[in-house]
Point group: C2
């Protein structure tokens, strides 16, 4: 079960974005698995994609189409990743784009395709195209919750977030949905996030806002260190509110709302991480720079020994200390390092803290949400990443999925 | 159970090395947990230690003592790592060295201490010192098998290897033992290896031989990517055979025997990896250089998704492909990459091989020992690493150890 995720929060419509879902029955039965997001004329879209060298066909096509003009629709299918499918995969992704383009009366290149699901099987183009008319018929600005459901694969809960920002010219809305239950399972794959706003934002500024928001959210979460062939994160600004980011203050207020939505979405993926029983924040303080803080944070967050100790609610500070020690930090003086679990100091000067008691450590580890704070004592930089534990269920889910 | 490890192979005595074990009853009951290795006068010793910044006290003391003259004895205790113990840990390690030095009539600095076991608890010096006389009384060149038993912690089998080399001046022997069941559990910690030969070898050459042997063995294995606070690997040359490495040919023959012993020891650790049900060789071919081959090999070997698929005997090539893709290889052309499971080609040109069948992949995955071969198609470099799978037992062992 997802850690601390209750039902989907209210998702405010974004004027200029209509969503429609349908059931293609190509893999799942009795549920929607196809999503069409139609963007109004004049909408500006920015996107970031997986850095995995083995990119899925839809990623290649989406990147190509983004270079050919403003997208008018996003097309998402769940159940088949169209990855590892070679030239046929490209043709299939284009076939789906063409099918939707015809229904919406836009150029094929105005459709961006996204796929998530099993790798290496041919995309069931005919079945997806056949389901498109019902998805288009369902298009409605109120359909964000249904959309969050339709893009799920192994997710146990739908994920979405919404915020508003009061700018000088008026109120604007930011709403998004995402899916992804491992970070990331390359077979039932992929982190996908779709966020939209009705603010008026130009391409260059939107690119920058997306890059910054992703850097502090989706680029700071890890479940198992694996990155999918299909990962994508898309931000569209319809401009339908007519409200511009007219000043630096407006940009700050808007970015704050945008970052909050991105962070909620990213954290929701960790909370629903495969087999997760804990939501863990790893904060590294007093580092010299970004790189060393992240190196320490990810070494701790990826350590199977730390993650199994978290699963066991075992305040096994030796494992955290050893992970910090092997993070490859040049000239790390262990005498300057201290470790905290929430507000309990567990180690200082490279050894167990004199004030530490097993009972105090245990009290923290028994919680569902835990902060591991590592103070390096060599600078002023701070970085935070979020992760989950490594449970029996993680192994079960990943070992038994195809069998 | 260890994969493909039967009982300990015959371990040939090395003239000039006597081993004695005893039961200190400080942690374990009814088994030896203390090992003394006495080295003859004139023996030359070389050692490499963990690069973890949080080094255990015995590692600091061993490094210091190595700089103060040729060691005459190695002292190993199993059950307590004397790590995370601050200044008291240094005093305790020195106390043990002094206790043995007195019994052997050598300087304290001629004793190198090694500890493996729980982190953060004070070393039970009195109990260890009290057991030393029986260990010394037991000193005998035939005791390698007993020594392999005495240094075990969570290991399920004792580990040792032996080889001889025919040099121009006569036959020399190389024998070694090791322990370590995770790579590495920082609580019940540590990879330790002790190897000796009766060949006549000077310090500089011995250092070089050790460095090379370790690089191709202990530095090429991984169970879970975690490195202990206590890791150490020691090579002693007693010179008792009187046989020198008199020519380049002698060096080659000797190095070959030495490397074989190191590789057997290192692979034994993987075969006995925590929860291991598979012994997996990851070979990366046709890379541009060492670094990129190792980056790919370790990304695959550390991927929890690949490791759980191995546990499930699931020929899930998409996970291997995705791991290769995220290894960070600059300008990797996926069209040039092919993947093999043993002799079965599973992917070529970035997609599933046309000749591949699930049945063929399944036949390989059903084996206990599997070769994953990744051909990058961009150079001539080859690197190999060895690893195990990620099983329910790995989580159980590491989650439940302290509870």
């Amino acid at each position: 079960m997802a850690v601390g995720l209750d039902k989907l929060p209210p998702l405010k419509p974004v004027t200029g974005v209509e969503l429609g879902c349908a059931a293609s029955a190509t893999r799942y039965q009795g549920r929607d698995d196809l999503l069409v997001m139609r963007l109004s004329e004049g909408a500006v879209t920015s996107a970031v994609f997986t850095r995995n060298a083995f990119r899925a066909a839809p990623v290649d096509v989406a990147i190509r189409h983004l270079g050919q003009g403003a997208p008018r629709a996003l097309l998402v299918n769940a159940g088949n990743a169209n990855a590892g499918t070679g030239p046929q995969g490209i043709d299939d992704a284009l076939g789906c784009c063409a099918g939707l383009a015809e229904l919406l009366d836009v150029p094929t290149s105005a459709v961006l395709p996204f796929s998530t699901g099993v790798i290496g099987e041919p995309l069931p183009v005919a079945g997806l195209v056949a389901a498109m008319p019902s998805a288009v018929a369902a298009l409605d600005e109120a359909n964000w919750p249904a959309a969050a459901q339709a893009i799920m694969t192994t997710d146990t809960v739908p994920k979405g977030a919404s915020a508003t920002a009061e700018l000088a010219g008026g109120r604007v809305t930011v709403t998004g949905i995402c899916k992804g239950a491992g970070m990331i399972r390359p077979d039932m794959a992929t982190m996908l996030a779709f966020v939209a706003t009705d603010a008026v934002i130009g391409q260059a500024q939107l690119d920058e806002l997306l890059r910054t928001a992703v850097e502090q959210s989706f680029n700071r979460i890890t479940v198992d260190g694996d990155t999918s062939t299909n990962d994508a994160c898309v931000l569209s600004a319809t401009g339908a509110s007519g409200v511009r980011l007219a000043s630096d203050a407006d940009v700050r207020v808007f970015a704050e709302a945008l970052d909050r939505v991105f962070l909620q979405l990213a954290q929701a993926i960790v909370r629903d991480g495969e087999g997760a029983t804990k939501f863990v924040t790893v904060r590294v303080e007093q580092g010299r720079d970004r790189d060393e803080c992240l190196a320490v944070a990810y070494t701790v967050a990826h350590s199977p020994l730390v993650k199994t100790a978290l699963f066991a609610s075992d305040p096994n500070w030796g494992r955290i200390l050893a992970a910090v020690g092997r993070a490859g930090i040049e000239g790390l003086d262990v005498e300057g390092v201290s470790l905290w679990l929430d507000d309990v100091c567990i180690a200082e000067q490279g050894a167990r803290a004199s004030t530490y008691t097993e009972a105090a450590g245990q009290a923290v580890m028994d919680r569902d949400e835990i902060l591991i704070r590592i103070v390096l004592g060599r600078g002023e930089w701070v970085e935070t990443v979020w992760t989950s534990d490594l449970s029996h269920d993680y192994v079960r889910i990943n070992a038994e999925y195809r069998t």
